[in-house]
């Protein structure tokens, strides 16, 4: 009789101890995910940064589009300078951008006109408020974080981390279709179908000669329209976090496959890459508009930019 209770008691004790130990270690092993979160939060506090970004889209191995950007950002006052270079189907578009003294200035390489848009006071205020509220309300952000953690669930363990001797970390995540949550697999195809749809209507508006000569749509027309059997084949995310816990390098690959209306199979690979440097020591370039050809832009209801038509 005694022996029976002894056996049962020790079974309960041992299994409870093992449960606590493994539970604690399961909590600790999500460190890759936690490290990334911490780096992301820390990188958000940065005052200024230089960003070098690159994106490309391939269809069945053929490069459709590439985009490069160099940006200098001051997140405290909202000032920014930089240029982007887009190429698609042999067509090139270079664009320089500045954000200074409450105005946004855009200029394409193809013309020497500077397009200026006056920032509304409230947008500026909103920007500041947003930037502040994030930092000043840790309670809300902590709740949001808990919800995200819960949604991610056990998939946290997909995130891998290698720590180098200098304290920098390499964090990576690799997912095949089967490893994606079923909800993502169910909704993503529809989202991708919508995203690759060509919008002729907008296209025609954009070609309005008085509009700002920059076609966002020209990118889209290169993309094949997927309509069926769409699935995400692979997702890969990598990040390098430096010793002072800033994200230095971030890259992501997304492989999507599907068929277009004619039944031809496509495999699209989207590659995004961003390098951050000059943490808290970047100063955006400023532009002197004196003696330059300037055109004022107003934003219409759809949020698109249109030239006013009046030269200043």
């Amino acid at each position: 009789m005694k022996k029976k209770w002894l056996v049962l008691g020790s079974t309960v004790g041992l299994s409870a101890a093992l449960m606590v130990t493994t539970g604690l270690s399961a909590m600790a092993s999500t460190s890759g995910y936690e490290a990334y979160k911490s780096a992301l939060k820390n990188s958000h506090t940065v005052q200024s940064v230089t960003l070098q970004a690159n994106a490309s889209l391939k269809d069945n191995g053929k490069v459709l589009e590439t985009a490069d950007a160099q940006l200098k950002l001051n997140l405290k006052n909202g000032n920014m300078s930089g240029n982007t270079d887009l190429s698609a189907g042999g067509e090139h578009q270079k664009l320089s951008m500045y954000n200074q003294n409450e105005q946004t200035i855009l200029k394409t390489d193809s013309s020497d006109t500077y397009y200026v848009k006056q920032d509304k006071d409230d947008t500026k205020a909103e920007f500041k408020k947003m930037h502040h509220s994030k930092a000043s309300d840790p309670e809300t952000s902590r709740q949001v974080e808990t919800v995200i953690d819960a949604l991610v669930g056990n998939l946290k363990d997909y995130v891998n981390m290698d720590t180098a001797s200098d304290g920098s970390k390499q964090i990576s995540l690799q997912l095949d279709q089967a490893q994606l949550p079923a909800v993502v697999n169910a909704i993503a195809p529809l989202a991708i179908k919508e995203a690759t749809k060509h919008r002729e209507e907008i296209q025609s508006k954009e070609s309005n000669p008085s509009a700002f000569p920059f076609h966002k749509q020209f990118l889209k027309n290169e993309v094949p329209q997927l309509t069926q059997d769409i699935k995400i084949d692979h997702v890969s995310v990598k990040a390098n976090v430096n010793a002072s816990n800033y994200i230095q390098h971030q890259e992501a690959d997304l492989t999507v496959s599907g068929k277009d209306a004619s039944g031809a199979a496509h495999q699209l690979v989207i590659h995004l890459q961003a390098d951050f440097s000059g943490f808290n020591s970047t100063t955006p370039d400023t532009l002197d508009l004196k003696g330059k050809k300037v055109q004022t832009l107003k934003s219409n209801h759809e949020g698109m930019l249109k030239a006013d038509g009046n030269n200043k």
Partner: protein, 248 residues
């Protein structure tokens, strides 16, 4: 030894004499086929591939998240509170077996049923991908098999928790309502408290996904397996403690 096998085999046949169990088995086999046809019908609208290579895993997630816990709840209710309510528990106690044997045979019969559902699901979804022509290869099947085995361990832990809870109830409805509320509560709790899920055996229902990736460290998988096995042992032991003290 013959008492163990007799007791286990007896509990298993008793389960299968229930019409309910046969219906559960049939439904478990039919559901993936129905979903496959439904998705096929919605294919132009949703733009997705109805029965893709990940179909067996998506169905598995659906089963481990919802269907199998419901089945475990139903069978546990039948094996414990219902037997108290209908005064049939004494029939088992009057057989020449110990209560430990009765308890473990029932737990084993429950585990066998869960395993049975997983086998049915594996075969059905395998056939679905075979017919849809999206079966990519033997490696895929092997990797799915691993995920199914992992899901079985997670479901074993869920069974242990439900069997433990069942010992506190003398009526089916009381147990089922409590179990449902508790299961829902365990699923919501991580949204309020981050560290909760690390210590809850009911929150490993999507755990099999980790076994599909070659990038997940072996340590993580071993820790998870040990955690689930330890909690199964713990809750079955606690359940047995209560069961052993039952008076009928």
């Amino acid at each position: 030894m013959y008492k163990w096998t007799a007791s286990y085999f007896n509990e298993l046949t008793l389960l299968f004499y229930r019409r309910k169990v046969i219906l559960i088995a049939l439904f478990s086999a039919a559901l993936p086929v129905l979903i496959a046809f439904a998705l096929k019908g919605l294919e132009p609208l949703l733009a997705l591939l109805a029965v893709g290579p990940s179909f067996p895993i998506e169905m598995l997630s659906l089963y481990t998240g919802l269907w199998i816990p419901l089945v475990i709840m139903t069978l546990t209710a039948d094996l414990f509170p219902h037997e108290v309510a209908s005064r049939t528990l004494k029939l088992a106690f009057l057989r020449p077996v110990t209560r430990l044997q009765v308890f473990l045979s029932r737990a084993a019969a429950l585990a066998t049923s869960v395993g049975g559902i997983l086998v049915i699901l594996f075969i059905t979804t395998f056939l679905c991908t075979l017919f849809a022509g999206t079966l990519t290869g033997f490696g895929e099947v092997l990797s799915n098999l691993k995920a199914y085995a992992a899901a079985f361990i997670a479901m074993l832990a869920v069974s242990a928790v439900f069997v433990f809870i069942a010992q506190f109830f003398k009526s089916v409805s009381g147990f089922v309502i409590t179990a449902l509320v508790l299961y829902a509560g365990f699923k919501v709790a991580p949204f309020l408290l981050s560290s909760f899920s690390a210590f809850s055996p009911l929150n490993y229902t999507d755990w099999h996904m980790l076994w599909l990736s070659s990038y997940v460290r072996a340590g993580t998988l071993i820790t998870g397996t040990l955690f689930l096995l330890a909690s199964s042992v713990l809750f079955f032991s606690l359940g047995y403690y209560k069961f052993d003290r039952t008076q009928v």
